[in-house]
Symmetry: C2
Subunit: 336 residues, 2 copies
Amino acid sequence: MNKINIKYLAKELNLSISTVSRALSDSYEISAETKAKVFALARQLNYQPNPNASGLRGQKTKTIAIVIPEIVNDFFSLVISGIEKITQEKGYYMLVYITHEDHSMEVSFINSLVKGRVDGILLSRSSEQDDYSHLLELNDKGIPLVFFDRVCETMDNVKVTTDNYESSVTATQHLLAAGCRKIAYLQAPRNISIGQLRMNGYLDALKDSPGKQPPLVLECTNDHDENSMRIKKMLATEKPDGIFASIEKLAVICYSVCEQLKLRIPEDVKIISFSNLQTASLLNPSLTTITQPAFDIGVTAARELFKRIEKKSTGGTAEHVVLKSLLVKRKSTSTR
Amino acid sequence: MNKINIKYLAKELNLSISTVSRALSDSYEISAETKAKVFALARQLNYQPNPNASGLRGQKTKTIAIVIPEIVNDFFSLVISGIEKITQEKGYYMLVYITHEDHSMEVSFINSLVKGRVDGILLSRSSEQDDYSHLLELNDKGIPLVFFDRVCETMDNVKVTTDNYESSVTATQHLLAAGCRKIAYLQAPRNISIGQLRMNGYLDALKDSPGKQPPLVLECTNDHDENSMRIKKMLATEKPDGIFASIEKLAVICYSVCEQLKLRIPEDVKIISFSNLQTASLLNPSLTTITQPAFDIGVTAARELFKRIEKKSTGGTAEHVVLKSLLVKRKSTSTR
DNA sequence: GCAAATAACGGAAACGTTTCCGTAAAAAAT
DNA sequence: ATTTTTTACGGAAACGTTTCCGTTATTTGC
């Protein structure tokens, strides 16, 4: 039924297959009149080249893959938006894969991509395991790979992140300036690359502070209820007057826990968090955030990827693009 | 460099190409020993079939497309999650396209898919224009198409929606029971299929109410600031004591506007909205919602799609699956 | 005015699968 | 003991492109 292929066009126009193909790709070898005729018929019949055939022949797919840990999350949604914008501009397709923070899913998915299903990959690592042989294989096969947000420090690929360390310093200083004397840091589970940077920012800011208050780090897990319990216990025993959540999810838990413990925000405890929550300003009370330029991260990462795809030079200058996050002050850290 | 194909395996094992291919697909024509040998080597060399080649030969792509109006939205994120779950189970890939509520983008994307890039399509319509010839073409070409949420009523494809009408009745009755005497309905822009159903529920609920209060419908646009202005004006002049937002975005605007006008929620005006906001319970005040089973919508729609893909019978029984939404009562409609 | 360059096109190979068809040997049926 | 069936495999076509190599005409160079 789908007989509108090059062969059909060729027969219809009394031309050879190669001529039609060349005409469609606007080759210089074809006369203007012939091109016009071919284009006219192609448009009239709504000819669309078979992607499998061109992909098979040219080893191109016009498709990129994006691998993320989760999707019900405004940060990743915004990143996807940004990537999608560039992808559409370039006329490419976007394959989405969600690892659900499961390293083995990341591995199996990447392994299924090494065979030329996509022209390039955008990746935010699931959990920061030491094992990244599956990613090295991509480099071996020459498939461009660009990291964003949760990168692999030890690999020599392009990375797009934000100024995690500096932002953490800023956030901590903001809490200090708001009068906090005991600031707890909620550490996100298993993601060394950004997690370590953020924590270092917190630690260093405390170290440089006038009061030199000792750090109070609460390690969190991937389990919501477990985190809730730990935070509740920490709030009850340690009684911090400031909380710095390294990820949004933990800040949200704090809100619930504070309500349970009848702790008032910001009077009893001030809260700040890395977050891209669209409704941050509508929360009760509105949440002070370090907001990452998520959309720009997507745009930038995609642009970097297409540079490699088009140049076909995967190696070489492995830049590290760092975008700036923004401190948005709201009521959860207000002094009154 | 990517020389690990069937031909290579065949040469290595001293077998013919066809034998290897059949062994890999577990054909009954191949002896157990041969299969074992082939599998062993394939696994050892991490052989992955070339998707373009199999796609070209078999007209299969192991890929589906999902087309949505936007992605920075918990409803659609959750739907994607559900779809992705099934897609992973089936070993398929998922192409994502965002139309940004632009009908022409929907058309051009669908047109680029008719040529066998995907085995099936999941679609939530952008704006409900009358023109759906591009979708009819999919049926002509035999590419399975399943609608979800924003469906095309007049087409004979599978549709997965929620009980929009009944939920709207419930929501309106909830406001009535909370004592509202003047309930405004915020109508979402341009999407007849669910929009009309939801509004009808509101209208009918009012009609059947004891007070028989007249309807108060505010038509909204796709422009945030414009909506904000209209809502502010409506609140100031009409002074409703209840607001029923047909989509989440409009409810969020109400929160901002109410703050500007110093209107207290729920004392001065109660608000209910269709919404899948994850942070609904953390808003100031927490928002009463009609919550759609977004994840289930994704799962169901994907299952329906795979039924058609596997049966290869696009026509036939075009069911309409209706899932139930849930009324979650929170403070924005509390009576005290 | 003849060799050389160019313009415009056709034939066919190649990409990696899957599958139709064929066929030798072994097993089963008569 | 011969015919028929089954088992297990090989050869080659086909999917729809792109591109390498020709091959004619026509134009250009000298």
